[in-house]
Protein backbone atom coordinates (compact mmCIF):
# COMPACT_ATOMS: atom_id res chain seq x y z
CA UNK A 1 0.00 0.00 0.00
CA UNK A 2 1.24 3.45 -0.88
CA UNK A 3 0.35 6.56 1.08
CA UNK A 4 1.20 9.99 -0.28
CA UNK A 5 1.27 12.77 2.30
CA UNK A 6 0.88 16.30 0.93
CA UNK A 7 2.86 18.95 2.81
CA UNK A 8 3.46 22.67 2.65
CA UNK A 9 6.39 24.64 4.01
CA UNK A 10 5.01 27.70 5.81
CA UNK A 11 6.44 30.55 7.88
CA UNK A 12 6.27 29.83 11.62
CA UNK A 13 3.29 32.04 12.43
CA UNK A 14 4.23 32.20 16.10
CA UNK A 15 7.38 34.05 15.03
CA UNK A 16 5.71 36.57 12.73
CA UNK A 17 5.27 40.14 13.85
CA UNK A 18 3.48 43.03 12.18
CA UNK A 19 5.20 46.18 10.98
CA UNK A 20 3.70 48.93 13.12
CA UNK A 21 3.81 51.50 10.31
CA UNK A 22 2.68 49.55 7.25
CA UNK A 23 0.61 46.81 8.88
CA UNK A 24 2.40 44.27 6.70
CA UNK A 25 3.66 40.94 8.01
CA UNK A 26 7.38 40.88 8.70
CA UNK A 27 8.50 37.61 7.14
CA UNK A 28 12.25 38.28 7.09
CA UNK A 29 14.17 35.88 9.25
CA UNK A 30 11.05 33.93 10.17
CA UNK A 31 11.87 30.21 10.26
CA UNK A 32 10.08 27.91 7.81
CA UNK A 33 8.24 24.96 9.32
CA UNK A 34 6.10 22.10 8.08
CA UNK A 35 2.44 23.11 8.23
CA UNK A 36 1.07 21.64 11.49
CA UNK A 37 -2.03 19.98 9.97
CA UNK A 38 0.28 18.30 7.42
CA UNK A 39 2.59 17.02 10.16
CA UNK A 40 -0.45 15.40 11.78
CA UNK A 41 -1.18 13.75 8.43
CA UNK A 42 2.38 12.46 8.24
CA UNK A 43 2.20 11.15 11.80
CA UNK A 44 -1.08 9.38 11.01
CA UNK A 45 0.60 7.75 7.99
CA UNK A 46 3.64 6.77 10.09
CA UNK A 47 1.39 5.16 12.68
CA UNK A 48 -0.17 3.06 9.92
CA UNK A 49 3.35 2.13 8.81
CA UNK A 50 4.32 1.23 12.40
CA UNK A 51 1.52 -1.33 12.33
CA UNK A 52 2.27 -2.49 8.78
CA UNK A 53 5.89 -1.89 7.73
CA UNK A 54 5.11 -2.87 4.13
CA UNK A 55 3.35 0.48 3.69
CA UNK A 56 5.34 2.95 1.57
CA UNK A 57 5.05 6.62 2.53
CA UNK A 58 5.86 9.31 -0.01
CA UNK A 59 5.84 12.95 1.06
CA UNK A 60 5.02 15.45 -1.68
CA UNK A 61 5.09 19.20 -1.88
CA UNK A 62 5.00 21.96 -4.43
CA UNK A 63 7.25 24.88 -3.62
CA UNK A 64 10.62 26.55 -3.90
CA UNK A 65 13.72 24.35 -4.10
CA UNK A 66 14.32 25.02 -0.39
CA UNK A 67 11.12 23.08 0.41
CA UNK A 68 13.31 20.00 -0.06
CA UNK A 69 14.55 20.52 3.51
CA UNK A 70 11.01 19.94 4.74
CA UNK A 71 10.72 16.72 2.73
CA UNK A 72 14.10 15.60 4.06
CA UNK A 73 12.89 16.20 7.61
CA UNK A 74 9.78 14.16 6.92
CA UNK A 75 11.96 11.32 5.63
CA UNK A 76 14.04 11.71 8.81
CA UNK A 77 10.81 11.16 10.74
CA UNK A 78 10.27 7.88 8.92
CA UNK A 79 8.76 8.53 5.47
CA UNK A 80 10.31 6.46 2.68
CA UNK A 81 10.84 9.07 -0.01
CA UNK A 82 9.75 12.46 -1.28
CA UNK A 83 8.59 14.24 -4.42
CA UNK A 84 9.29 17.95 -4.87
CA UNK A 85 7.35 19.82 -7.56
CA UNK A 86 9.40 22.86 -8.32
CA UNK A 87 9.46 24.95 -11.42
CA UNK A 88 9.33 28.67 -12.17
CA UNK A 89 6.22 27.95 -14.27
CA UNK A 90 4.47 26.65 -11.15
CA UNK A 91 5.21 29.81 -9.13
CA UNK A 92 2.34 32.06 -8.07
CA UNK A 93 -0.20 29.24 -8.02
CA UNK A 94 -3.51 29.72 -6.23
CA UNK A 95 -5.33 26.69 -4.83
CA UNK A 96 -6.88 25.90 -8.22
CA UNK A 97 -3.51 25.71 -9.98
CA UNK A 98 -1.84 24.02 -7.02
CA UNK A 99 -4.35 21.19 -6.92
CA UNK A 100 -4.02 20.74 -10.69
CA UNK A 101 -0.26 20.26 -10.38
CA UNK A 102 -0.51 18.03 -7.30
CA UNK A 103 -3.18 15.83 -8.89
CA UNK A 104 -1.04 15.40 -12.01
CA UNK A 105 1.96 14.45 -9.88
CA UNK A 106 -0.12 12.04 -7.79
CA UNK A 107 -1.29 10.30 -10.95
CA UNK A 108 2.35 9.94 -12.04
CA UNK A 109 3.62 8.48 -8.74
CA UNK A 110 0.51 6.44 -7.88
CA UNK A 111 -1.28 6.15 -4.54
CA UNK A 112 -3.74 4.12 -2.51
CA UNK A 113 -4.33 6.87 0.03
CA UNK A 114 -3.58 10.59 -0.02
CA UNK A 115 -3.37 12.47 3.27
CA UNK A 116 -3.28 16.27 3.28
CA UNK A 117 -3.47 18.67 6.17
CA UNK A 118 -6.82 20.39 6.53
CA UNK A 119 -5.40 23.84 5.84
CA UNK A 120 -2.14 25.79 5.87
CA UNK A 121 -1.45 28.32 8.59
CA UNK A 122 -0.39 30.93 6.03
CA UNK A 123 -3.24 30.73 3.50
CA UNK A 124 -5.96 29.14 5.67
CA UNK A 125 -8.08 28.19 2.65
CA UNK A 126 -8.58 24.47 3.33
CA UNK A 127 -9.14 24.11 -0.43
CA UNK A 128 -6.15 22.23 -1.81
CA UNK A 129 -6.95 18.82 -0.31
CA UNK A 130 -10.58 18.75 -1.47
CA UNK A 131 -9.77 20.21 -4.91
CA UNK A 132 -7.06 17.60 -5.41
CA UNK A 133 -9.56 14.83 -4.59
CA UNK A 134 -12.03 16.27 -7.12
CA UNK A 135 -9.38 16.41 -9.83
CA UNK A 136 -8.34 12.83 -9.09
CA UNK A 137 -11.98 11.74 -9.12
CA UNK A 138 -11.67 9.94 -5.78
CA UNK A 139 -13.72 10.30 -2.58
CA UNK A 140 -12.58 12.68 0.13
CA UNK A 141 -13.08 12.89 3.89
CA UNK A 142 -12.12 16.20 5.44
CA UNK A 143 -11.46 17.17 9.08
CA UNK A 144 -10.21 13.71 10.00
CA UNK A 145 -9.41 13.39 13.69
CA UNK A 146 -8.58 9.69 13.80
CA UNK A 147 -7.88 6.86 11.40
CA UNK A 148 -9.69 3.89 12.90
CA UNK A 149 -8.79 1.10 10.50
CA UNK A 150 -7.90 0.09 6.97
CA UNK A 151 -9.41 -3.23 5.93
CA UNK A 152 -10.51 -4.94 2.70
CA UNK A 153 -9.73 -1.91 0.55
CA UNK A 154 -11.70 0.42 2.81
CA UNK A 155 -10.71 3.02 5.34
CA UNK A 156 -12.69 3.97 8.45
CA UNK A 157 -12.06 7.33 10.07
CA UNK A 158 -13.50 9.68 12.62
CA UNK A 159 -14.39 13.08 11.21
CA UNK A 160 -14.60 15.86 13.80
CA UNK A 161 -17.19 18.53 13.18
CA UNK A 162 -18.03 21.38 15.52
CA UNK A 163 -20.76 19.61 17.44
CA UNK A 164 -20.69 16.00 16.27
CA UNK A 165 -18.19 13.33 15.35
CA UNK A 166 -18.91 11.11 12.36
CA UNK A 167 -17.50 7.63 11.79
CA UNK A 168 -17.08 7.26 8.04
CA UNK A 169 -16.02 4.28 5.98
CA UNK A 170 -14.87 4.93 2.44
CA UNK A 171 -13.37 2.93 -0.42
CA UNK A 172 -9.71 3.36 -1.24
CA UNK A 173 -8.18 5.17 -3.02
CA UNK A 174 -9.32 8.37 -1.37
CA UNK A 175 -8.10 11.69 0.03
CA UNK A 176 -8.17 12.58 3.74
CA UNK A 177 -7.53 15.97 5.26
CA UNK A 178 -6.25 15.88 8.82
CA UNK A 179 -6.39 18.09 11.91
CA UNK A 180 -3.28 19.03 13.88
CA UNK A 181 -4.93 18.01 17.15
CA UNK A 182 -5.30 14.37 16.10
CA UNK A 183 -1.86 13.28 17.30
CA UNK A 184 1.57 14.42 18.47
CA UNK A 185 4.03 14.26 15.59
CA UNK A 186 7.11 12.20 16.35
CA UNK A 187 10.61 13.63 16.27
CA UNK A 188 13.06 13.00 13.48
CA UNK A 189 15.48 10.25 14.45
CA UNK A 190 19.24 9.91 14.23
CA UNK A 191 19.20 6.68 12.19
CA UNK A 192 17.05 8.13 9.43
CA UNK A 193 19.16 11.31 9.35
CA UNK A 194 22.30 9.21 8.79
CA UNK A 195 20.58 7.20 6.03
CA UNK A 196 19.31 10.36 4.37
CA UNK A 197 22.86 11.67 4.00
CA UNK A 198 23.89 8.51 2.14
CA UNK A 199 21.12 8.68 -0.42
CA UNK A 200 19.00 11.53 -1.77
CA UNK A 201 15.47 10.24 -1.43
CA UNK A 202 13.70 13.26 -2.89
CA UNK A 203 12.72 13.16 -6.55
CA UNK A 204 12.35 16.54 -8.24
CA UNK A 205 9.57 16.99 -10.80
CA UNK A 206 9.08 19.97 -13.09
CA UNK A 207 6.03 20.97 -15.09
CA UNK A 208 7.52 19.15 -18.07
CA UNK A 209 7.39 15.95 -16.01
CA UNK A 210 3.74 16.66 -15.19
CA UNK A 211 2.91 17.37 -18.83
CA UNK A 212 0.52 20.20 -17.98
CA UNK A 213 -0.26 23.13 -20.28
CA UNK A 214 1.81 26.05 -18.84
CA UNK A 215 -1.21 28.33 -19.18
CA UNK A 216 -3.13 26.15 -16.70
CA UNK A 217 -0.54 26.17 -13.93
CA UNK A 218 1.29 28.74 -11.81
CA UNK A 219 0.37 32.39 -11.95
CA UNK A 220 -1.07 32.03 -15.48
CA UNK A 221 -3.40 29.25 -14.38
CA UNK A 222 -4.61 30.95 -11.22
CA UNK A 223 -8.00 32.67 -11.38
CA UNK A 224 -7.61 34.06 -7.86
CA UNK A 225 -5.89 37.36 -7.30
CA UNK A 226 -5.23 38.96 -3.94
CA UNK A 227 -6.79 42.41 -3.84
CA UNK A 228 -5.38 43.57 -0.53
CA UNK A 229 -3.93 42.16 2.68
CA UNK A 230 -4.40 43.99 5.94
CA UNK A 231 -4.41 43.47 9.68
CA UNK A 232 -7.79 43.73 11.36
CA UNK A 233 -8.12 46.56 13.84
CA UNK A 234 -8.55 45.50 17.43
CA UNK A 235 -11.57 47.24 18.93
CA UNK A 236 -11.24 48.72 22.39
CA UNK A 237 -15.03 48.50 22.90
CA UNK A 238 -15.94 46.68 26.11
CA UNK A 239 -19.38 45.51 27.19
CA UNK A 240 -20.22 45.58 30.88
CA UNK A 241 -22.74 43.24 32.48
CA UNK A 242 -24.09 42.91 35.98
CA UNK A 243 -25.04 39.25 36.47
CA UNK A 244 -25.26 36.52 39.08
CA UNK A 245 -22.58 33.79 39.18
CA UNK A 246 -24.87 31.31 37.39
CA UNK A 247 -25.82 33.80 34.69
CA UNK A 248 -22.17 34.79 34.27
CA UNK A 249 -21.09 31.18 33.77
CA UNK A 250 -23.88 30.58 31.24
CA UNK A 251 -23.00 33.71 29.36
CA UNK A 252 -19.27 32.92 29.22
CA UNK A 253 -20.02 29.41 27.95
CA UNK A 254 -22.44 30.75 25.33
CA UNK A 255 -19.98 33.39 24.14
CA UNK A 256 -17.12 30.92 23.90
CA UNK A 257 -19.33 28.64 21.82
CA UNK A 258 -20.44 31.48 19.57
CA UNK A 259 -16.85 32.43 18.96
CA UNK A 260 -16.08 28.73 18.44
CA UNK A 261 -13.39 28.79 21.10
CA UNK A 262 -15.06 25.73 22.59
CA UNK A 263 -17.25 23.37 20.58
CA UNK A 264 -18.98 21.09 23.06
Amino acid sequence: MKIVVLEKQVPDSTEISVDKNTGALIRDGVPAITNPDDLAGLEAALQLKDADPSIEITVMTMGLPKAKEMLDESIARGADNGVLLTDRVLGGSDTCATSRALAAALEKVGFDLVIAGRQAIDGDTAQVGPQTAERLGVPQITYVDEIIKIEDGKITVKKALDDVDQIITCKLPCVLTTLSGMNTPRFMNCNDIVDLMKEDKVKVMTNADLGLDPSLVGFAGSPTSVKRTFTKDVSAETNTYNLSEQETATMIAKTLKEKQIITK
Binding site: E73, A76, R186, F187, C190, D192, I193, V194, M197
Partner: protein, 380 residues
Protein backbone atom coordinates in the same frame (compact mmCIF):
# COMPACT_ATOMS: atom_id res chain seq x y z
CA UNK B 1 40.83 23.49 8.54
CA UNK B 2 37.06 23.42 8.58
CA UNK B 3 35.13 24.81 11.51
CA UNK B 4 31.73 24.09 9.97
CA UNK B 5 29.32 21.36 10.96
CA UNK B 6 28.42 18.88 8.21
CA UNK B 7 24.88 18.73 6.80
CA UNK B 8 24.30 15.63 8.90
CA UNK B 9 25.52 17.31 12.08
CA UNK B 10 23.35 20.38 11.37
CA UNK B 11 20.26 18.26 10.87
CA UNK B 12 21.00 16.31 14.04
CA UNK B 13 21.51 19.57 15.93
CA UNK B 14 18.08 20.69 14.74
CA UNK B 15 16.58 17.42 15.99
CA UNK B 16 18.33 17.77 19.37
CA UNK B 17 16.97 21.31 19.70
CA UNK B 18 13.47 20.06 18.94
CA UNK B 19 13.78 17.36 21.58
CA UNK B 20 15.28 19.83 24.09
CA UNK B 21 12.68 22.54 23.51
CA UNK B 22 9.76 20.19 22.84
CA UNK B 23 10.06 17.85 25.81
CA UNK B 24 13.13 18.33 27.99
CA UNK B 25 12.76 22.01 28.80
CA UNK B 26 9.21 21.84 30.14
CA UNK B 27 10.17 19.16 32.66
CA UNK B 28 13.55 20.56 33.71
CA UNK B 29 12.33 22.60 36.68
CA UNK B 30 10.13 19.77 37.97
CA UNK B 31 12.91 17.20 37.59
CA UNK B 32 15.11 19.47 39.73
CA UNK B 33 12.46 20.41 42.26
CA UNK B 34 11.18 16.86 42.80
CA UNK B 35 14.67 15.31 42.49
CA UNK B 36 13.13 12.80 40.10
CA UNK B 37 14.58 10.94 37.14
CA UNK B 38 13.93 12.66 33.78
CA UNK B 39 11.78 9.84 32.42
CA UNK B 40 10.13 11.99 29.73
CA UNK B 41 13.54 13.03 28.43
CA UNK B 42 14.72 9.45 28.17
CA UNK B 43 11.55 8.45 26.33
CA UNK B 44 12.00 11.32 23.85
CA UNK B 45 15.64 10.35 23.33
CA UNK B 46 14.58 6.77 22.73
CA UNK B 47 12.05 7.89 20.09
CA UNK B 48 14.63 10.12 18.40
CA UNK B 49 17.16 7.25 18.49
CA UNK B 50 19.67 9.32 20.43
CA UNK B 51 20.87 6.63 22.83
CA UNK B 52 23.41 5.04 20.48
CA UNK B 53 24.46 7.94 18.26
CA UNK B 54 28.16 7.08 17.67
CA UNK B 55 27.81 3.30 17.55
CA UNK B 56 27.44 1.03 14.49
CA UNK B 57 24.05 0.35 12.94
CA UNK B 58 24.62 -3.42 13.20
CA UNK B 59 24.37 -3.00 16.98
CA UNK B 60 21.36 -0.71 16.90
CA UNK B 61 23.29 2.57 16.91
CA UNK B 62 22.79 5.45 14.50
CA UNK B 63 26.23 5.00 12.96
CA UNK B 64 26.92 8.71 13.27
CA UNK B 65 30.04 10.45 14.56
CA UNK B 66 31.24 11.37 18.04
CA UNK B 67 30.70 15.10 17.51
CA UNK B 68 27.01 14.46 16.72
CA UNK B 69 26.69 12.79 20.12
CA UNK B 70 28.51 15.72 21.74
CA UNK B 71 26.07 18.13 20.04
CA UNK B 72 23.24 16.16 21.64
CA UNK B 73 24.70 16.56 25.15
CA UNK B 74 25.26 20.27 24.51
CA UNK B 75 21.73 20.94 23.26
CA UNK B 76 20.05 18.95 26.04
CA UNK B 77 22.19 20.60 28.72
CA UNK B 78 21.14 24.06 27.55
CA UNK B 79 17.74 23.38 29.07
CA UNK B 80 18.35 20.48 31.49
CA UNK B 81 21.81 19.43 32.64
CA UNK B 82 20.31 16.37 34.32
CA UNK B 83 19.15 15.07 30.93
CA UNK B 84 22.58 15.92 29.48
CA UNK B 85 24.38 13.73 32.01
CA UNK B 86 21.91 10.87 31.67
CA UNK B 87 22.82 10.70 27.98
CA UNK B 88 26.52 11.27 28.60
CA UNK B 89 26.87 8.62 31.32
CA UNK B 90 24.86 6.16 29.24
CA UNK B 91 26.72 6.77 25.98
CA UNK B 92 30.32 7.42 26.89
CA UNK B 93 30.73 5.70 30.24
CA UNK B 94 28.32 2.77 30.18
CA UNK B 95 28.09 1.86 26.51
CA UNK B 96 31.49 2.83 25.10
CA UNK B 97 33.56 0.22 27.02
CA UNK B 98 31.37 -2.56 25.59
CA UNK B 99 31.57 -1.12 22.06
CA UNK B 100 35.35 -0.73 22.40
CA UNK B 101 36.44 -3.77 24.41
CA UNK B 102 33.48 -6.17 24.27
CA UNK B 103 33.57 -9.58 22.58
CA UNK B 104 31.16 -10.15 19.67
CA UNK B 105 28.98 -12.12 22.11
CA UNK B 106 28.98 -9.30 24.67
CA UNK B 107 28.13 -6.78 21.95
CA UNK B 108 25.33 -8.98 20.70
CA UNK B 109 23.94 -9.43 24.18
CA UNK B 110 24.30 -5.89 25.55
CA UNK B 111 25.25 -3.30 22.95
CA UNK B 112 22.14 -3.61 20.81
CA UNK B 113 19.76 -3.08 23.71
CA UNK B 114 21.82 -0.13 24.96
CA UNK B 115 22.03 1.59 21.56
CA UNK B 116 18.33 1.23 20.85
CA UNK B 117 17.55 2.54 24.33
CA UNK B 118 15.77 -0.61 25.43
CA UNK B 119 18.27 -0.56 28.30
CA UNK B 120 20.28 2.17 30.03
CA UNK B 121 23.90 1.91 31.08
CA UNK B 122 26.04 3.14 33.97
CA UNK B 123 29.67 3.03 35.07
CA UNK B 124 30.96 2.15 38.55
CA UNK B 125 34.55 3.08 39.36
CA UNK B 126 34.41 5.52 42.30
CA UNK B 127 34.37 4.10 45.82
CA UNK B 128 34.07 5.75 49.22
CA UNK B 129 37.88 5.59 49.53
CA UNK B 130 38.81 5.63 45.85
CA UNK B 131 37.88 8.94 44.24
CA UNK B 132 40.66 10.77 42.44
CA UNK B 133 42.90 7.94 43.64
CA UNK B 134 40.88 5.49 41.58
CA UNK B 135 43.64 2.90 41.72
CA UNK B 136 42.97 2.11 45.38
CA UNK B 137 39.94 -0.02 44.57
CA UNK B 138 38.60 -2.05 47.49
CA UNK B 139 35.85 -3.88 45.61
CA UNK B 140 37.02 -7.42 44.92
CA UNK B 141 36.14 -10.03 42.32
CA UNK B 142 37.41 -13.44 43.34
CA UNK B 143 37.46 -16.31 40.87
CA UNK B 144 35.61 -19.41 42.00
CA UNK B 145 36.14 -23.02 40.95
CA UNK B 146 34.02 -22.54 37.76
CA UNK B 147 36.01 -19.56 36.62
CA UNK B 148 33.15 -17.20 37.50
CA UNK B 149 33.80 -14.21 39.74
CA UNK B 150 32.32 -13.35 43.14
CA UNK B 151 31.94 -9.58 43.50
CA UNK B 152 31.98 -7.79 46.86
CA UNK B 153 32.22 -4.12 47.68
CA UNK B 154 30.61 -0.73 47.33
CA UNK B 155 30.61 1.93 44.61
CA UNK B 156 29.53 5.47 45.38
CA UNK B 157 28.14 8.50 43.48
CA UNK B 158 27.13 6.38 40.48
CA UNK B 159 25.19 8.25 37.80
CA UNK B 160 22.06 6.47 36.44
CA UNK B 161 22.24 4.07 39.42
CA UNK B 162 19.03 2.12 39.84
CA UNK B 163 17.72 3.40 36.50
CA UNK B 164 20.35 1.62 34.42
CA UNK B 165 20.07 -2.05 33.55
CA UNK B 166 23.73 -2.64 32.67
CA UNK B 167 26.74 -1.57 34.78
CA UNK B 168 30.42 -1.49 33.93
CA UNK B 169 32.04 -2.35 37.27
CA UNK B 170 35.70 -2.26 38.21
CA UNK B 171 37.10 -4.53 40.90
CA UNK B 172 40.38 -5.95 42.17
CA UNK B 173 41.01 -9.43 40.81
CA UNK B 174 44.58 -9.46 42.14
CA UNK B 175 45.42 -7.05 44.94
CA UNK B 176 49.14 -7.82 44.73
CA UNK B 177 49.29 -6.33 41.22
CA UNK B 178 48.12 -2.78 42.08
CA UNK B 179 46.49 -1.07 39.07
CA UNK B 180 47.34 -4.15 36.99
CA UNK B 181 45.17 -6.18 39.31
CA UNK B 182 41.98 -4.28 38.42
CA UNK B 183 39.50 -5.85 35.99
CA UNK B 184 36.30 -4.63 34.33
CA UNK B 185 32.99 -6.51 34.35
CA UNK B 186 29.55 -6.20 32.84
CA UNK B 187 27.02 -6.54 35.66
CA UNK B 188 23.25 -6.71 35.29
CA UNK B 189 20.84 -4.87 37.56
CA UNK B 190 18.74 -7.78 38.73
CA UNK B 191 21.53 -10.15 39.72
CA UNK B 192 21.28 -11.58 43.20
CA UNK B 193 23.24 -9.67 45.83
CA UNK B 194 23.29 -6.40 43.82
CA UNK B 195 21.39 -3.62 45.62
CA UNK B 196 21.28 0.15 45.64
CA UNK B 197 21.83 2.67 48.42
CA UNK B 198 19.83 5.81 49.09
CA UNK B 199 19.61 8.63 46.58
CA UNK B 200 22.27 11.23 47.26
CA UNK B 201 20.83 14.66 48.02
CA UNK B 202 22.79 16.95 45.77
CA UNK B 203 23.34 20.67 45.11
CA UNK B 204 22.66 20.33 41.37
CA UNK B 205 21.72 17.82 38.64
CA UNK B 206 19.16 16.81 41.22
CA UNK B 207 17.15 14.63 38.84
CA UNK B 208 20.17 12.56 37.93
CA UNK B 209 19.98 9.27 39.86
CA UNK B 210 23.10 9.23 42.05
CA UNK B 211 23.27 6.23 44.35
CA UNK B 212 25.55 3.66 45.94
CA UNK B 213 25.95 0.26 44.32
CA UNK B 214 26.26 -2.48 46.90
CA UNK B 215 27.63 -5.88 45.88
CA UNK B 216 27.22 -8.72 48.31
CA UNK B 217 28.57 -11.99 46.87
CA UNK B 218 27.30 -11.18 43.36
CA UNK B 219 28.19 -13.99 40.97
CA UNK B 220 29.51 -12.67 37.64
CA UNK B 221 29.65 -15.33 34.91
CA UNK B 222 33.14 -15.55 33.42
CA UNK B 223 31.87 -14.43 30.01
CA UNK B 224 31.04 -11.04 31.56
CA UNK B 225 34.68 -10.14 32.16
CA UNK B 226 35.18 -7.09 29.92
CA UNK B 227 38.55 -7.06 28.20
CA UNK B 228 41.36 -9.08 29.72
CA UNK B 229 41.83 -9.71 33.42
CA UNK B 230 44.06 -7.01 34.90
CA UNK B 231 43.30 -4.50 32.11
CA UNK B 232 40.44 -2.83 33.97
CA UNK B 233 42.29 0.30 35.03
CA UNK B 234 43.32 1.04 31.45
CA UNK B 235 39.75 0.52 30.32
CA UNK B 236 38.54 2.89 33.04
CA UNK B 237 41.04 5.62 32.17
CA UNK B 238 40.37 5.40 28.43
CA UNK B 239 36.64 5.48 29.07
CA UNK B 240 36.97 8.57 31.24
CA UNK B 241 39.03 10.33 28.54
CA UNK B 242 35.99 10.09 26.26
CA UNK B 243 33.50 10.75 29.05
CA UNK B 244 35.24 14.04 29.77
CA UNK B 245 34.31 15.34 26.34
CA UNK B 246 30.69 14.57 27.22
CA UNK B 247 30.93 16.46 30.52
CA UNK B 248 32.70 19.32 28.76
CA UNK B 249 29.73 19.45 26.36
CA UNK B 250 27.37 19.44 29.34
CA UNK B 251 29.24 22.41 30.86
CA UNK B 252 29.19 24.17 27.49
CA UNK B 253 25.44 23.62 27.20
CA UNK B 254 24.77 24.89 30.73
CA UNK B 255 26.75 28.07 30.02
CA UNK B 256 25.07 28.79 26.69
CA UNK B 257 21.70 27.98 28.22
CA UNK B 258 22.27 30.61 30.90
CA UNK B 259 23.17 33.24 28.29
CA UNK B 260 20.07 32.31 26.29
CA UNK B 261 17.97 33.02 29.40
CA UNK B 262 19.69 36.31 30.14
CA UNK B 263 19.35 37.94 26.70
CA UNK B 264 15.55 38.33 26.64
CA UNK B 265 15.60 39.32 30.31
CA UNK B 266 18.01 42.23 29.90
CA UNK B 267 16.04 43.46 26.89
CA UNK B 268 12.79 43.45 28.83
CA UNK B 269 13.94 44.51 32.32
CA UNK B 270 13.81 48.29 32.74
CA UNK B 271 15.61 50.33 35.36
CA UNK B 272 16.14 54.08 35.25
CA UNK B 273 13.61 54.13 32.36
CA UNK B 274 15.85 52.06 30.13
CA UNK B 275 16.20 48.34 29.40
CA UNK B 276 19.23 47.17 31.36
CA UNK B 277 20.62 45.91 28.00
CA UNK B 278 21.29 49.58 27.25
CA UNK B 279 23.84 49.80 30.06
CA UNK B 280 27.44 49.25 29.17
CA UNK B 281 28.03 46.95 32.13
CA UNK B 282 25.39 44.57 30.78
CA UNK B 283 26.81 44.74 27.28
CA UNK B 284 30.39 44.10 28.36
CA UNK B 285 29.42 41.27 30.71
CA UNK B 286 27.44 39.59 27.93
CA UNK B 287 30.30 40.01 25.47
CA UNK B 288 32.72 38.38 27.91
CA UNK B 289 30.31 35.55 28.64
CA UNK B 290 29.66 34.70 24.98
CA UNK B 291 33.35 34.94 24.09
CA UNK B 292 34.20 32.46 26.86
CA UNK B 293 31.46 30.09 25.73
CA UNK B 294 32.49 30.25 22.09
CA UNK B 295 36.10 29.50 23.05
CA UNK B 296 34.92 26.53 25.14
CA UNK B 297 32.83 25.31 22.23
CA UNK B 298 35.84 25.24 19.89
CA UNK B 299 37.81 23.21 22.45
CA UNK B 300 34.99 20.76 23.05
CA UNK B 301 34.36 20.21 19.34
CA UNK B 302 38.08 19.83 18.65
CA UNK B 303 38.43 17.14 21.31
CA UNK B 304 35.38 15.35 19.89
CA UNK B 305 36.78 15.47 16.35
CA UNK B 306 40.17 14.17 17.54
CA UNK B 307 38.40 11.21 19.14
CA UNK B 308 36.31 10.66 16.02
CA UNK B 309 39.40 10.74 13.80
CA UNK B 310 41.35 8.32 15.94
CA UNK B 311 43.89 10.96 17.00
CA UNK B 312 45.18 11.32 20.58
CA UNK B 313 42.55 13.12 22.61
CA UNK B 314 43.44 12.62 26.27
CA UNK B 315 44.94 16.10 26.70
CA UNK B 316 42.39 17.79 24.42
CA UNK B 317 39.56 16.22 26.44
CA UNK B 318 41.12 17.30 29.74
CA UNK B 319 41.64 20.85 28.47
CA UNK B 320 38.11 21.04 27.11
CA UNK B 321 36.58 19.80 30.36
CA UNK B 322 38.75 22.01 32.56
CA UNK B 323 37.98 25.13 30.55
CA UNK B 324 34.30 24.48 29.83
CA UNK B 325 33.56 23.65 33.48
CA UNK B 326 35.17 26.85 34.71
CA UNK B 327 33.37 28.83 32.02
CA UNK B 328 30.08 27.27 33.12
CA UNK B 329 30.69 28.34 36.73
CA UNK B 330 31.72 31.84 35.73
CA UNK B 331 28.97 32.41 33.18
CA UNK B 332 26.15 31.11 35.37
CA UNK B 333 27.39 33.26 38.27
CA UNK B 334 27.34 36.33 36.04
CA UNK B 335 23.97 35.36 34.57
CA UNK B 336 22.41 35.45 38.04
CA UNK B 337 24.10 38.78 38.73
CA UNK B 338 22.64 40.30 35.56
CA UNK B 339 19.19 39.09 36.57
CA UNK B 340 19.57 40.32 40.14
CA UNK B 341 17.01 39.19 42.70
CA UNK B 342 14.88 37.51 40.03
CA UNK B 343 17.84 35.43 38.93
CA UNK B 344 18.32 34.25 42.49
CA UNK B 345 14.77 32.90 42.73
CA UNK B 346 13.70 29.41 41.75
CA UNK B 347 11.06 30.93 39.46
CA UNK B 348 13.72 31.40 36.78
CA UNK B 349 16.10 28.66 35.58
CA UNK B 350 19.49 30.37 35.96
CA UNK B 351 19.89 29.53 39.64
CA UNK B 352 19.43 25.87 38.68
CA UNK B 353 22.02 26.22 35.95
CA UNK B 354 24.39 27.77 38.49
CA UNK B 355 23.90 24.81 40.84
CA UNK B 356 24.21 22.32 37.97
CA UNK B 357 27.43 23.90 36.71
CA UNK B 358 29.41 23.04 39.85
CA UNK B 359 29.40 19.30 39.31
CA UNK B 360 31.19 19.68 35.97
CA UNK B 361 34.27 20.80 37.94
CA UNK B 362 34.09 17.63 40.01
CA UNK B 363 32.90 14.47 38.28
CA UNK B 364 34.75 12.38 35.69
CA UNK B 365 37.93 13.88 37.10
CA UNK B 366 38.03 17.10 39.09
CA UNK B 367 39.52 20.22 37.56
CA UNK B 368 42.66 19.40 39.53
CA UNK B 369 42.84 15.99 37.85
CA UNK B 370 42.50 17.67 34.45
CA UNK B 371 45.42 19.94 35.34
CA UNK B 372 47.45 16.87 36.34
CA UNK B 373 46.67 15.22 32.99
CA UNK B 374 47.55 18.33 30.99
CA UNK B 375 50.76 19.20 32.85
CA UNK B 376 51.73 15.55 33.01
CA UNK B 377 51.75 15.46 29.20
CA UNK B 378 53.68 18.75 29.05
CA UNK B 379 56.40 17.62 31.44
CA UNK B 380 56.74 14.06 30.24
Amino acid sequence: MDFNLTEQQKMMQKLFREVANGVVKENAADVDEQERFATESVEAMRQAKMLGIPYPREYGGAGADYLSYILAVEELSKTCATTGVILSAHTSLGTWPIAQFGTPEQKEKYLTDLCTGKKLAAFGLTEPNAGTDAASQQTTAVKDENGDYILNGTKIFITNAGEADVYIIFAMTDKSQGTRGISAFIVEKDWEGFTFGLHEKKLGIRGSATRELIFNNVRIPKENLLGKEGKGFRIAMQTLDGGRIGIAAQALGIAQGAIDEVIPYVKARKQFKRPIAAFQNTQFQLANMQTQVDAARLMVYKAAMAKENGEPYTVLAAEAKLFAAEVAMDVTTKAIQLMGGYGYTRDLPVERMFRDAKITEIYEGTSEVQRMVISGAMLR
